[in-house]
Symmetry: none
Subunit: 184 residues, 4 copies
DNA sequence: TATGAATGAGCGTTCATTCAT
DNA sequence: GATGAATGAACGCTCATTCAT
């Protein structure tokens, strides 16, 4: 069993949220996945909500580190950066099952637990901003922003359809289609 | 208090599922929304799952009646049918808050409650098929199918972003963009 | 479906009590077995307890008619009457599964529903009395009563063991053994 | 308030099952008898069925320790062992009201909860086997087994009649009668 | 840090019973 | 006589959270 530290708890919870969603994941599930008892979790996080916030932070940070970073790689043209970012996006969402945890949390909880909204909005805002920076190399500012928004939405939609159909290929079509569309 | 019949129960539940999701909506919530006691609901539906199935059936039927029907309107060209269908789609998803109930149910429950999968898949399959019939007037069969799939995904993504941002305009951009893209 | 009259309701309930016991048998079970809806049962019996009382009365009456009657058959010696009664007992309890409904009700409900006690006690009192009348032909009064009591207890015990083991033969051994013991 | 541990829960439940039967005893009853809340019981047993299994195990173990053990006491003849076992049996079943919990559970639940069957059958199998070991000192093997079975059935029947009549003396008559019958 | 018993509210569901139609 | 919607209490069980050890 892996050493039990805050990071482990977050990672295990992330997997559970992906598979089961927020409401269906109990603190007992999390504890069991960490090799702990329920009560012990409260040494790491004061509540389920706080744990979810930490999960969102971790997801956001990792996404920024592995995907958004592509938007600003120095020495690369816009097209190359878009290609890299799309490839990274694809790899990121194909890695685990259950799609985009923050997207899922958004639909499940954004109205019921308003405290989650800032983290959810920040995630999508920064994702859109990164894409906008790439698009801005080719399109005027307002068009770039709108195209970035549509790209994010389309990827989210593709992830949803991938989850429903069980066919991972659909995401690939979308990411490649976006590259072709913007730099075809 | 509105008359309590099966349709009323379904309609009230639909609203609740939209706002709160499946797991967060309790039978007591549903009963209260119908002016009933918890136990009385079981005269209408033998279980929460069965109620959810009825909700999905109702949503599917209404969507077919008001949106999918546009794909086959006689005496109209493909472009006009696409325009009408997109306008109907927009109106449909702008009418209630909470976006696409079946899409939400998909993310929340498709893995946890496998019995929901057939209804969810049927909904998206028929939606895609309707769009494919329109696209087939202009594109070869394989392209038409792929374009229809991307369109459905993009609309779902737009609905999700609309929910997150609270800005209904995003859906309009998407539906109009799709018309322009395919028949621009 | 058999005509629905009071006798049918009693007969159906009897079967259910035998298989499921009193507490596990719901009014809905009874109604379904009679081809009625739950509410309709209350036209026949004002409560579940009253229904159970009617079931016990019916069982008692049938037992008297087919088994106890043997104790007093005119023109037959005590041994022949005992033989006949034991054969009738055997046939009676082998006919349905679930053993002796009144015995079961006794263990399940005599302390919880004191209203059942008189009917239960009457059933066993009359059974014992019938056997005592036979025994009195051969044994002095006090011995006859005690032997009758032991016989009833042994048959009840055999029925219980038959239910547990699923082996109907055990009852036969007991009834035959009792004949041999008293008139061997 | 007595200390709350697994043994206490089992003991309290045993009393309740004896008085009220399995189906009429609710988890709230058990909890109240233990000075706990309903939910707290689930720290000790994952379900009502599991609790009942533990109760049966405890009953079986205690019965073996105090009654069945007599069958194998070294340095005693068969008659003495039978006498002791019957005396212990009598004391055992006279100690609490409600008779033989496992016998009661058998009639109430053996058909509805098949998981209970093994424990119920094991209890009666070992009881019969112990008596058979004693009988085998005087009777040939097949007769010994049959006599043991009849003795167990007769005791069970006597316990049932004792419960119905409220007269504890009936059991004494039976146990003494059995000693006289086999070693008279 | 970790435990695990305890809490108290709440969950989906069942039940015997009532009653207007 | 039959219906079936409604009741209201209770059921077995789950949950996030607390806290003494």
């Amino acid at each position: 069993m892996q050493k039990t530290d805050v990071g482990t708890v977050i990672a295990r919870t992330l997997e559970l949220f992906r598979r089961q969603g927020y409401h269906k994941t109990t603190m007992a599930d999390v504890a069991a996945a960490c090799g702990l008892l329920k009560g012990s979790l409260y040494h790491y996080f004061p509540s389920k909500e706080a744990l979810a916030q930490a999960v969102m932070d971790e997801v956001h940070a990792r996404f920024a580190r592995t995907v958004l970073v592509c938007a600003d790689e120095p020495g690369l043209g816009a097209e190359a950066r878009l290609e890299r970012m799309m490839a990274a996006t694809e790899a990121y969402f194909l890695a685990g099952t259950g799609g985009c945890v923050i997207g899922n949390l958004a639909l499940e909880a954004i109205d019921m637990i308003p405290d989650f909204a800032p983290a959810i909005r920040a995630y999508f805002r920064e994702w859109t901003a990164a894409l906008t920076r790439i698009m801005a190399c080719r399109y005027p500012a307002d068009q770039a922003g709108r195209k970035a928004e549509r790209a994010v939405a389309e990827i989210q939609g593709a992830i949803m359809m991938m989850r429903i159909s069980g066919d991972g290929g659909k995401l690939r079509q979308t990411t490649r289609g976006l590259v072709a569309e913007f730099y075809g």
